[in-house]
Amino acid sequence: GGMLAAAVLLLLVAAGPGLVPVRAGRDALREELLLSPLPDGDVAATFQFRTRWDADLQRGAVSHYRLFPKALGRLVAALGVRELHLALTQGFWRTRVWGQPPLQAPAGAELWVWFQPTVTDVDKAWEELSNILSGIFCASLNFIDSTNTVTPTASFKPLGLANGTDHHLLRYAVLPREVVCTENLTPWKKLLPCGSKAGLAVLLKAERLFHSSYHSQAVHIRPICRDASCLAVSWELRQTLTVVFDTFSSGQGKKDWSLFKMFSRTLTDACPLASQSKVYVDISPKNKEKELLEVTPPPTSVHEAIVQGDKRTYAVYDLLSPSLFNTSRSLNVQLKWKRPQDSSDLPTPILHAQRYVSGYGLQTGEISTLIYNTHPYRAFPVILLETVPWYLRLYVHTLTIITKGKENKPSYIHYQPAQDRRRPHLLEMLIQLPANSVTKITIQFERALLKWTEYTPDPNHGFYVSSSVLSALVPSVIAMKDVDVEQSPLFTSLFPSSDGSSYFVRLYTEPLLVNLPTPDFSMPYNVICLTCTVVAVCYGSFYNLLTRTFHVEEPSRGGLAKRLANIIRKFRGVPPL
């Protein structure tokens, strides 16, 4: 069943593993690669390395780690982590042009974690966790603190097993300014059981991966049911990497692609530690026309699935099957388009959104979010989560939601205003989107003046506002059947569906860049002097008036200046002073 169905299941953890003796459990690795051509000619490659370990990390000290990386295992056990999702992304998934994303992540670094109910001080555990992860992944996750962490109430439900969802155990933070580069890829690759030496991971070479328009690498850890009866807990670690190569739309090549052209490597063998190693190529015919494209070498099998409300066909290459490497030592999957396809027909995804900031000047502004529902006849609700930093002061009385010209009141709204220098704004709303409509959500804000030490070294670049999150169960046009997690883990994680009629989508909007008024940074000493001078003027005048009294002036014989002046006057013949 899907993960959301499992999440509702109540697990009696006490009964199961208590009877199982503590020993190194079975672990299994499955590596999969999904290559899908995008509507505008680009190619998206999604890698997923899934390690499943039948041991309970929370109970008993597990000391023998085989496939599951020790760094992450000890992290989960020591800090009481129930679920961990970390994504580092560079670029933005263009939903309009590329279609619904398999697994989207916001630009920058995103970390959301569910803690176990046994954790007493969640904030302290969160801080320790972000620092440790920052060390493991060489990313500046240590900048995650209370000013960019929020506790969403509705948007991020646990994806693994959960009994009870007290949202005080959830923490979510995004660092939109974070840049992803080779030094983040290397430790991520090191966590893989085969490293980057065998299996699908040989394709992950940094110089090709970062030469792309979208690169997202993620780590997901969650507990799952060990078997259908769900009496014991297994831990699943999924490392996913999505990359979009834009050789066609940037005008550098033809629409034909091959593994060698994209990654400058070919596959030579499967990872010896993997129990499954497959490559899926999306060969779904468009407009019901077969024979439009050709895939070489011929696939070991063909798999059909209904994905995101669409029927798709996949050519499967099983790296573990002996017949694959009979003819050549390396596998270079190639796809050729037989006929040039008219690219004007871009199917619009059912749910997509965009966000922008408007206004002029450095005092006020307005954030507008547009959400499009292009389904012809079904309406569905969407949860919008916005996190705005404290220095853009939102005015919730200016929040307006307009659909088709009329006001649309959200059925659930949770607003937590920001506190200066302590926490950001959190706005969560459940909005009903009518069929075939555009919903515009606007809110006005005021820009604050910060202390001069709080600006980044490049203050005129602006400040980033992290992407807002849209979570929805999109109704699908075709009924989907449930897929077993063990059979094709890639599809269940990339395209989750709760029941046959809708699939879960999480979209992120663009991050925003907002300018704040800046003080003059060269002036601290001058400002202190000048302001204190003004205060001193007041003090001086009042001191004089309060402590001195009026006296009649006594005639004085005159100082030196007066005598000199009199001498000069005598020479001139003018009467003396």
Partner: protein, 392 residues
């Protein structure tokens, strides 16, 4: 305030964010009156003007009586006839005060902007009216209300006490028992009303949240939005290490002129009140033009000091020019982007210096007139030539 009401409607405490810093009584007042906001602010301005009119009318009577008493007691020098004030010249002063307040461009701007400063001004005006009429109870209640709104009117306790003592003919001697008795009575009235008002606010919103939000905000100055005061840029450019020290210094600066002024001006408590209100308006942590309008309304009361003012022309020019340049340089910084914050800051400095020198000029003129009244206008030196007055 609108934001605070919206937050209340959403079920969130208005003080959980950092936007709303008004007291709970204001939020409840506007809960009912938010539809008629413009009318409310116009009415408060009119009420302030009326209160000031009645107060100054009464004050003029007191001044005239005191002057008559001092003339009969022969306290004045013989040749000061031209300095004595006549009822004729004092006749139009209350009207001028009311008009000065209503027609002041600062007041108009404050009313158009619907700034809650207008309500503060009304409360202080009623406090002044109650004090001058001699009702200690009402004066204490209004002073407590004014202190509850913004912390600084606490310093007006001293001039009010001095005035009421004078009115009761209790001499201000530290050893006098009646002095201490009256002081303790007045202080008790004031503190009790303050406690009652604070507890009432607690019961309105069922939490003590408003105390750090309102008073903590005034005292610790966390919000650095540019205003016409001196604090914002100072703390924007402050080294973090010294921030607490300078916050304390700036706050003490407002309060510590009270005792010296009380000692010097114990015979003239209304002038003391004027100077104190001016100091509060200049040095409070978030000044607005409405505060300036309040003390400027008193200037016609001291119009007889005109001949002793030294720099009035320059200062009025400075104030007018700076008021005109404020919006220009603000626009250039925030909207046009062609100036930077230093331009606006410079105007802030100049404007505040103008105000400070205006007040000290009036103070100088007042003291000088008092000197002439007791020592005669035509001062001669020992050898008979005309003398100059200096402060020594």
């Amino acid at each position: 305030v609108v934001e605070g009401l919206a937050l209340l409607d959403l079920g969130v405490s208005p003080y959980s964010g950092a936007i709303f810093h008004e007291t709970p009584l204001i939020i409840y007042l506007f809960h009912f009156l938010i539809e008629y906001a413009e009318l409310v602010f116009m009415i408060t301005d009119v009420l302030t003007a009326v209160a000031l009119y009645l107060a100054i009318q009464d004050f003029n009577k007191v001044v005239f009586k005191k002057q008559k008493l001092l003339i009969e007691l022969d306290k004045y020098a013989p040749d000061v006839a031209e300095l004595i004030r006549t009822p004729m010249e004092m006749h139009y002063i209350p009207l001028k005060v009311a008009l000065f307040y209503l027609l002041n461009p600062y007041t108009v701007m404050s009313c158009v902007a619907k700034s809650t400063c207008a309500i503060n001004n009304t409360v202080i005006a009623f406090f002044i009216l109650a004090t001058i009429k001699g009702s200690a109870f009402l004066s204490a209640v209004f002073l407590a209300l004014a202190t509850y709104q913004s912390l600084y009117p606490l310093t007006l306790f001293a001039p009010a006490l001095l005035y009421l003592l004078q009115r009761q003919f209790i001499p201000i001697k530290l050893k006098s028992k009646s002095f201490w008795l009256y002081t303790v009575q007045y202080a008790a009235l004031y503190l009790c009303s303050l406690v009652v008002i604070v507890c009432l606010s607690f019961f309105l919103l069922n939490s003590w949240d408003f105390i750090p939000s309102v008073y903590g905000f005034i005292l610790s100055v966390p919000d650095l939005t540019p205003n016409i005061g001196l604090f914002w840029y100072f703390f924007a450019e402050m080294f973090e290490h010294f921030s607490l020290f300078f916050v304390c210094v700036f706050q003490i600066n407002v309060f510590f002129y009270t005792i010296p002024l009380a000692i010097k001006l114990k015979e003239h408590p209304v002038f003391f009140m004027f100077v104190q209100i001016a100091i509060i308006s200049i040095f409070k942590s978030y000044p607005t033009v409405g505060d300036i309008a309040l003390y400027m309304a008193f200037l016609p009361v001291w119009s007889h000091l005109y001949r002793f003012l030294r720099n009035i022309f320059i200062l009025s020019c400075v104030l007018i020019v700076c008021s005109l340049l404020f919006p220009v340089l603000w626009h250039l910084w925030i909207y046009a982007g062609s100036a930077n914050s230093n331009f606006y800051y410079a105007i802030t400095l100049t404007f505040n210096i103008g105000q400070i020198l205006l007040i000290s000029d009036y103070f100088y003129a007042f003291l000088r007139r008092e000197y002439y009244l007791t020592h005669g206008l035509h001062l001669t030196r020992q050898d008979g030539t005309e003398a100059m007055l200096v402060l020594k």
